[in-house]
């Protein structure tokens, strides 16, 4: 191969093999912002992954919970018996007049213990007793509250509240046992009757006992739970609305002469969940998507790497009040007057820079209702975490996009404070038409660049409806 090399190859190889030249000084900014964007994408993907994992975990737990609440009766039975045994010692100490047969309940095996309850009861009567399936099954559902919570925690915890719950359960259990006792007595007499007395009357008695037993079968806490959950649900509200967003901002540093950056109106959308903690106080949170837009005229290409003649140079960045905008491609600049105003084409059009930032805000707000009638008025205040979800910049010439890029060094998360009014008009018992003018101020700068102080103020007027679950 070397033999094939000739003089012209050598000439170029010697001169160009180790040729070096410094690239445009703002190229590193471009690379940095691209790397940041990649990192952000990775973070978002990670958050998505966690979200999916959490959803799967939630679905799994929900499935597990549901399957546990619908355990076959014999399994539930075992758990109950086991729980009773564990707590029995405490109860023995406090109440020695316990109607249960203690010798039966001290057995280690839960399954056996339920049998021994019967066996023990038999032994007191001194007669054979076959446990009735319906009698055990009937009190099993009444213990469903135990399954909704961790059985292990109930067994291990010695907190008073749990002991109270179990005491209450035990009193219910004792009622059932009284019936079992009656049933047992009846079975004994029934066995005697079978030998020569009326079977029909025996069946009637059995039906009556079953009815009595089933009436006692309900969960002693079911009523309270339903009542509580009903009250809980009635306090919740769901609001949805859209809003025009007006933004103002101050310019924190000096820019090129004639450069003019102004904020443009944008839109936002909100989905909020509220909870009425008191009659007039509602706490709200949710998701608000909002945009910030700004337009720069007489774009400052002062970093242009100037050379003689036309084109005058190239640039890959523009300075704005929100920080440097780095473009995906370098821009070739032309000067019409030989001065510092550059155009992006020889045709002489002045380029316009448009920037757009998208944020998802997760606010925590409290509203106090001053007037709470058909027409209601409240004052609202709160804070929010704003996550950057969109960062676009475009350079337009005569309405045509000639380059695109993004604003460098924007923070992924910023914090804001907001206050405003909530005006509502009840359209029915559940639906309220709302108008919420809100002023929002970014507490920290949107840019991580210390020389850029970009803390815009926003006014958004959310218009929508609120649905109350009452």
């Amino acid at each position: 191969m070397l033999a094939e090399k000739n003089n012209i190859d050598q000439l170029f190889q010697e001169k160009l093999r180790d040729y070096e030249k410094n690239p445009s000084m703002f190229l590193w900014n471009n690379i940095e912002s691209k790397l940041d964007a990649q990192q952000r994408t990775r973070k978002i993907n990670m958050i998505k992954g966690f979200g999916i994992a959490a959803a799967i975990m939630f679905a799994f737990l929900a499935g597990w919970w549901l399957s546990n609440t619908t355990l076959p009766n014999n399994q539930v039975e075992n758990k109950i018996a086991g729980t009773v045994i564990q707590k029995n010692e405490n109860i023995n100490q406090t109440n020695k007049t316990q109607p249960l047969n203690q010798s039966a309940l001290t057995d280690e095996s839960a399954n056996k213990s339920s049998e021994k309850i019967s066996a023990g009861r038999n032994s007191t009567s001194g007669k054979q007793y076959k446990p009735s399936i319906s009698s055990f099954a009937s009190f099993a559902p009444s213990t469903s509250f135990l399954n909704k919570r961790s059985d292990a925690s109930l067994l291990e915890s010695k907190e008073p509240i749990l002991v109270d719950v179990e005491k209450e359960f035990l009193s219910h259990f004792q009622n059932n046992l009284k019936l079992i006792k009656q049933l047992s007595a009846w079975v004994t007499s029934f066995n005697h009757n079978l030998k020569g007395s009326d079977t029909i009357q025996g069946n009637k008695q059995l039906n009556q006992l079953n009815k009595q037993f089933n009436s006692n079968d309900r969960d002693p806490f079911a009523h309270d739970t339903q009542k509580k959950s009903f009250n809980k649900v009635s306090n919740w509200t769901l609001s949805a609305g859209v809003a025009p967003v007006f933004t103002s901002q101050k310019q924190g540093r000096n820019y090129a002469l004639g450069q003019n950056t102004t904020a443009e109106n944008a839109v936002s959308g909100a989905l909020m969940v509220g909870y009425k903690v008191k009659k007039r106080i509602v706490v709200k949170s949710g998701i608000i998507y909002s945009q910030l837009r700004q337009v720069t005229k007489n774009v400052d290409f002062s970093q242009a790497n100037l050379t003689n003649g036309l084109p005058v140079g190239t640039s890959s960045a523009v300075v704005t009040p929100s920080g440097n905008v780095n473009f995906n491609k370098s821009i070739v600049l032309y000067s019409m007057n030989g001065l510092s105003n550059y155009n992006t084409s020889i045709s002489g059009y002045q380029p316009v820079l448009r920037q757009e930032f998208g944020y998802i805000e997760i606010p925590v707000q409290a509203t106090y209702k001053i007037i709470d009638h058909k027409f209601n008025v409240g004052v609202t205040g709160g804070i929010g975490a704003n996550m950057l979800v969109g960062n676009k910049a475009g350079l337009f010439e005569n309405g045509q996009r000639v380059n695109s890029g993004e604003t460098a060094n924007l923070r992924d998360v910023t914090y804001s404070g907001a206050m405003g009014l909530e005006l509502g008009y009840d359209l029915g018992s559940r639906i309220t038409l709302i108008v919420e003018p809100r002023v929002k101020h970014f507490i920290n700068s949107l840019s991580s660049n210390k020389t850029v102080d970009f803390k815009p103020n926003q006014l958004d007027i959310i218009t929508g409806v609120t649905y109350s679950f009452n």
């Binding site: 000739n6 012209i8 001169k15 190229l27 590193w28 471009n30 690379i31 940095e32 990649q38 990192q39």
Partner: protein, 187 residues
């Protein structure tokens, strides 16, 4: 070398300071590579930017076995090649030409600057430019170039001849006559 290795390891964990240091150390060299494969500085900067992003993304794949600079250089060349491949359907395949080699006087060579030669290379048609760079400057064989550019070995040779003819003509026009003519073709 140890410092460079430390820097590379920190870069692979995403340390921005180390990335900046690495960029500052190699940007000018890599820009020199990109300039040879591009038609102008704008295209070269685009390739340099893309190349460095790839370097930082794949830096954990560097095995510390060879030269890191060589590894970076290959990434820059591959980035330029990929861009070429995307547009390769736009470039026609030329027939084989006969190239008559020349040798230049030493004083003529010393009077030619690298910048002048770079401009000549940049003005070559895209395919000739790629083949000339890969063969004459990087040292790849025609077989390797054929595979890299998805062309035949013969096409690679032909393109190299064309490139040499054009470059030689330019050098003679701008910097003076050759000392003597080499009689053979080279491909």
């Amino acid at each position: 070398m140890t410092n460079l290795e430390d820097c590379i390891r920190k870069c692979s964990s995403g340390d921005r300071k180390s990335q900046t240091a690495l960029y500052n150390q190699f940007a000018s060299k890599m820009y020199g590579v990109c300039l040879r494969y591009s038609k102008d500085s704008t295209e070269a900067e685009d390739n340099l930017q893309e190349g460095f992003i790839r370097i930082f993304t794949k830096i954990d794949q560097f095995g510390y076995k060879g030269s890191f600079e060589g590894w970076m250089r290959r990434i820059m060349v591959n980035t330029s090649l990929e861009k070429f491949r995307k547009n390769s359907h736009l470039y026609p395949v030329e027939d084989m030409v006969i190239y008559e080699g020349v040798s230049f006087a030493e004083d003529t060579i010393s009077g030619i600057s690298a910048g002048d030669l770079l401009k000549m290379v940049q003005k070559l048609p895209p395919r000739y430019k790629m083949v000339f760079n890969l063969y004459a400057i990087e040292g790849y064989s025609h077989q390797e170039i054929g595979k890299m550019m998805n062309i035949s070995e013969g096409t690679s040779k032909s393109n190299l001849s064309r490139a040499r003819v054009i470059l030689q003509k330019k050098v003679i026009e701008e910097f003076g006559l050759e000392k003597n003519t080499v009689r053979t073709t080279l491909c």
